[in-house]
């Protein structure tokens, strides 16, 4: 349109959509934030909507678990392990009991091992169901998926209450077995819940699986490659979503997991969608394990008779016991100096170590995606801060 000069003047210069001269905004998604699953703080530096820097801050729920455990007896530490990862208390008990059994060389009778597998897999079911509900809540589907998930979780909590007495803080395992045997009618109730679970999973999958919004928001978001995952010590469903074939139930074969046939799902892309799918598939595998364990649950004692409850003094030495918790590899490193109190009581927190790559996953993503990435890591602050 311009006639005067030879070079055409572009009356409408390219709009500065790509060159961002906007300043950076420092904001903290702080301790009290609906998306942080508890008191977890992230100092985020934003350029518009893109994340430039993300520094997590821990310690708001540091309850000095390890210092208190040094003044408690071995039995006294058991109820504290319920409060480590307060959504799945039985697997915490199991990891601690396993560590003390390797420390003191205690044998566990058959029936107790089967009861451990049954309650452990039930814990995994309710943890994954809860997590998928919370992940959808983070994504904006506030209410509906969480209501479905908690309806199933309540059924599993009723089973725990009938067996151990408490909904969330079961305090069920002792060194050398379990504390109390199955009350009458519990096995039938458990069988009913286990048979009802696949129906819930189908309902959940038809509600969410092919939902376009879910796929659009989670695919390709927060990608973790296989090497990154191994190097950053990521374990559990989050590692398997990136293709790391490392499930302690198959690697360590602790307890009696080698008697059950179950598959380990693996993801390829390692993004939020794979982690979500991983949990749903793992729920189905847990149901397989539960069916087999309930079928051949033997009779017999549930407690190794010659382990003392009070005044339990293991020989001086150390031991590191670990299990495949719902969140990842939960390990207990105990050092005993022969006295009734553990000399050093160290918890290997899967949630804290899975957060190592949080910044790498969130760089360049939108603010709303931080919430989903954090939700897919599945952290529980009691375990992160101990």
């Amino acid at each position: 349109m311009s006639v005067l000069t030879d070079t055409p003047i572009d009356l409408t210069p390219d709009l500065p959509n790509d060159r961002s001269e906007g300043q950076l905004l420092e904001v903290s998604m702080g301790p009290q934030h609906p998306s942080t699953h508890g008191v977890f703080r992230m100092d985020v530096t934003l350029d518009g909507e893109k994340v430039v820097k993300l520094k997590p801050v821990f310690g708001y729920l540091h309850r000095n678990h390890e210092k208190i455990a040094e003044n408690e007896s071995y039995l006294g530490c058991m109820p504290y392990t319920d409060r480590l990862d307060y959504i799945c208390s039985i697997t915490n008990n199991w990891a601690y009991a396993l560590a003390v059994e390797t420390l003191a060389g205690i044998q566990v009778p058959e029936r107790a091992e089967y009861l451990r597998v049954i309650t452990g897999e039930l814990t995994r079911l309710q943890n994954h169901a809860g997590l998928v509900g919370f992940l959808m809540q983070d994504m904006g589907a506030s209410g509906t998926p969480l209501m479905y998930a908690f309806r199933e979780r309540e059924k599993v909590l009723d089973l725990f209450e009938a067996l151990t007495g408490a909904r969330m803080m079961c305090n069920y395992m002792r060194f050398g077995g379990c504390r109390v045997d199955v009350p009458s009618g519990w096995l039938q109730a458990a069988q009913k819940v286990i048979d009802g679970f696949p129906k819930f999973l189908d309902e959940f999958e038809s509600l969410l699986m092919s939902n376009e919004i879910l796929m659009a928001r989670t695919q390709g978001v927060g990608v973790v490659t296989r090497e990154q995952a191994i190097n950053a010590g990521i374990s559990g469903p989050m590692a398997r979503a990136s293709g790391v074939n490392y499930d302690l139930r198959k690697v360590d074969k602790y307890g009696i997991y080698d008697r059950f046939s179950f598959r380990v799902p693996l993801g390829e892309h390692g993004d939020v969608y794979d982690r979500y799918m991983l949990r749903v598939l793992e729920m189905r595998e847990s149901i397989e394990i539960l069916k087999q364990a309930m079928r051949d649950l033997p009779a017999g004692p549930i407690m190794d008779p010659n382990t003392k409850i009070r005044g339990f003094r293991p020989k001086a030495g150390e031991a590191y016991g670990r299990i495949e918790g719902p969140k990842g590899e939960l390990g207990f490193y105990l050092i005993s100096d022969g006295s009734p109190n553990p000399y050093r009581f160290r918890v290997r927190p899967p949630s804290l170590i899975n957060l190592t790559l949080l910044e790498d996953m969130c760089l360049g993503q939108n603010v709303a995606d931080i919430v989903i990435i954090l939700g897919s890591v599945d952290i529980v602050l009691g375990e992160v801060d101990r």
């Binding site: 408690e72 007896s73 039995l75 006294g76 530490c77 058991m78 109820p79 504290y80 319920d82 409060r83 509906t144 479905y148 309806r151 309540e154 009723d158 209450e161 009938a162 067996l163 151990t164 007495g165 408490a166 803080m169 305090n171 504390r179 109390v180 009350p183 009458s184 309902e203 038809s206 509600l207 969410l208 699986m209 092919s210 939902n211 376009e212 919004i213 879910l214 796929m215 409850i309 009070r310």
Partner: protein, 202 residues
């Protein structure tokens, strides 16, 4: 086609919504104050002291051996031993606690005190409506608030209580059998001295 997944999700919620008119177990809400969940037998909330017979002062099983005070992880039990002794159910002279407080604002209902108590004197209650507006008076249960009868224990934990009663009964039977043998052994050897001092224990 686009949106087909969302429609499937909506039909799922619709089926759940219409289903709740048809089959009852889709309605999971329990209207708490009026309608309550059926009491689960093994529930444990806060400890209580068991006493036999009718008078809680005399029948209290606790002999204040203070094992639970030492073993309690958060240390929320406070016991003071009595100087004198009182006869317990089997007639044997035992100490009794003059004060037995449990601070339920610290207790984490882990029932380790129940596990380590050699006399089955402390059990877990099922009563959970203990919220109060006064922290120091309302949340410190003293001996009189803690003591509950054995019948109450049988009412809330029937199977467990039956097992405990059977064990105690058998133990008492053994104690009586031993006492009877000791009495016969004393009677069988008619000592030249005068008749034994009339029943100092019974």
């Amino acid at each position: 086609m686009l949106g087909e997944g969302i429609l499937k999700g909506l039909t799922e919620t619709a089926r759940n919504f219409l289903g709740s008119y048809v089959n009852k177990d889709r309605l999971t809400t329990v209207q708490f104050p009026e309608e309550r969940l059926p009491q689960i037998e093994a529930t444990r909330d806060f400890p209580f002291l068991v006493y036999d017979g009718s008078d809680w002062q005399a029948g209290l099983r606790c002999v204040s051996c203070q094992i639970c005070e030492k073993e309690c992880p958060p240390k929320c039990i406070y016991i003071e031993k009595s100087k004198d002794k009182k006869p317990d159910v089997t007639g044997k002279l035992q100490f009794y606690p003059t004060t037995f407080d449990i601070d339920i604002s610290v207790c984490m209902s882990c029932q380790i005190c129940v596990e380590v108590c050699p006399f089955d004197a402390i059990k877990m209650n099922v009563e959970f409506e203990m919220s109060s507006e006064d922290r120091f008076g309302g949340l410190l249960l003293r001996k009189e608030q803690l003591a509950k009868s054995n019948e109450y224990y049988n009412k809330i934990h029937p199977t467990e209580a039956a097992a405990v009663d059977a064990a105690l009964a058998e133990e008492r039977a053994k104690v009586e059998a031993k006492a009877r043998q000791a009495a016969e052994a004393k009677a069988a050897t008619p000592a030249p001295v005068a008749a034994p001092v009339a029943g100092e224990t019974k």
